[in-house]
Structures are given as C-alpha cells and as structure tokens.
Amino acid sequence: MQCDDVVEYLPGIIERGEPADRRVQRHVETCLRCQAELVQYRRLLRALRLLRTEVLEPAPGLLSDILAHLEAAGERRAIRSILTGRNVAYAGGIAAATAASAAGAVVLVNRVRTRKLSLAS
C-alpha cells in the first residue's frame, strides 16, 4: 500500500469508532511521513475540541430580541387560539339556531295540520 492510498483514510482514523484497515495501519507504522500527518490531524482535533469550551460574546440586544420574538409568537398563538375558539362558538351557535328553527317549523306544521283536521271533522 502506498501513501497515496493511505492519505484518504488518515482524517477518519483519528476518530474513535473508525478502526483503521489493517493494511492502512501496517503502512502507517512503517511510514514516517504518514505518521507525521497523523500527528497533525491529532493536533488539529485537539485544537478543535478546545473550541468547545469557548463561548463567544453575542451581539448586544440579542437576548432581548429573542425574547421579544417569542413574546410576539406567544401572542399570535394566543390570538389564533381565541379566534379558533370563537369560530367554534359561532359554528355551534349557528348549528343550535338552525336546529331550533327546524324544530319550530316542525311544531308549526304539526299545529296547522291538527287545526285543519279538526276543522274538517
């Protein structure tokens, strides 16, 4: 195996859980150049991991902006919920009114029929 074949594997084998192919490993053990490159990858990985502990200072006003956005979103949600509730109430009201009208009409028709029958007899 040549260095050209091995270099593709070097960025991956520094990571836990990605065991090196045995041929790759054998090459690295005997190749100073690849070993040096591997050391560089390890140094790079250490420096990257160190960045995890670093927290950047956010721009001033970011927190208040986030909270204001959330407030607005909360209000929109509340309004939507009220409107949805009102729509349900309107629909219920209309349905109840329709049912009452229908029942009234049925009663009226029955009364008229009863009166007609009594007049006929």
């Binding site: 960025p11 390890r42 950047l56 970011l62 902006d65």
Partner: protein
Amino acid sequence: MMQIDQAELVEAAKGGDRSAFDELVKATYSDAYTLAYRLTGNQEDARDVVQDTYLRAYKGLKRFRGDAQFSTWIYRITANCASTHMAKGRRQRHDDLDANDQLIDERPDYDPESRADATLLRGQVEKALEVLPPKLRAVVVLRDIYDLPHDDIASQLGITEAAAKVRLHRARRKLREQLFPMTGDVPGEGTAHAV
C-alpha cells in the same frame, strides 16, 4: 445552570410557563450563538439563526422528549436552522463545495503539553474555519467541536451519513493542509507522497 434545573424548566415550559422558557433561553443562547457563528461565519447570520432556533424550539417544545440535554436539542435545531439559512444563500461569503484505538489520544485535555499546543493553535484553527466552505465547516464544527453523532449531523443537514463523513474528511484535510502545509501538499487536492 444545573442540568436538573434545566429539566425542571423544560417541564414547566412544556406546561405553558413562558417565563420558564425565557430562563432556558437565557441559560443557552450564548452557546447557541457561538455555534451559529461558527456555522455561518458572520454575526448577522448567526443572530438570525439563533432567533429562528428559539422560535422553532418554542413551537416544538412539546416534541422534546428529554432523552438528550436541552442544550444538545438546541444545538440540533441551530444546526438545522443554519443549514436552511445558508441554503437560502443570504449574505453568504464562501461556498464552493458539491460536497485504532492506538492512534487515538483519548483524553487530550488532561495532558498539559497537548493542551498548551492546542491553545496555541486555537486562533489559527478559528481563522482556518472561517475560510472553509460552509458545507465543510458545518460538519467539522458539529462533529469535532460539538461532538454530535454522524447520523444526527446528517439528519440536521439533510444529507446522508456517508456524505457527512466524506465532507468531514475533506474538511479535516483542508484544515490540516492549511495549518500544517507539507511538501507535496496540493491545496484542495489532498496529499500525495510516496514511501
């Protein structure tokens, strides 16, 4: 903030307590901003991404099952928002990509010499990250800095796990070439050296 406190705040926020969610924002927004900045490479985009992140978190809080830490969940959303944001192409500065145990130093932070070396390198690494194409930068930041698993990274970036790994290796190679140029390195082409 203690993790237990965050868990309690999450439960309260799920129950509709807005002030609990505000507390969670206060506890995590600097970290979210740092990640957003590392992913986008500029302050304005990072700001937009963080705002989107918390709006999405707020709307989707009921779906947070609590099997990961709240901050990890926020990182995932941040990564997803940053990916969406960058895909829109707004204020984008760079984008040119399509896209054994014995070798591992497991506890580098405990070795003072390694730590000193890493500290010295930190500034250079930050600069190198800034000039990395965003798609490469995203995977290396999420994997090597924030330690997110490959499948998580792939899902947040909307790519396959194999693609995420390919990008990660390319990113590491580019960073290495930039930080430790070796004779025989061809920029962007990987290294070629014979035994």
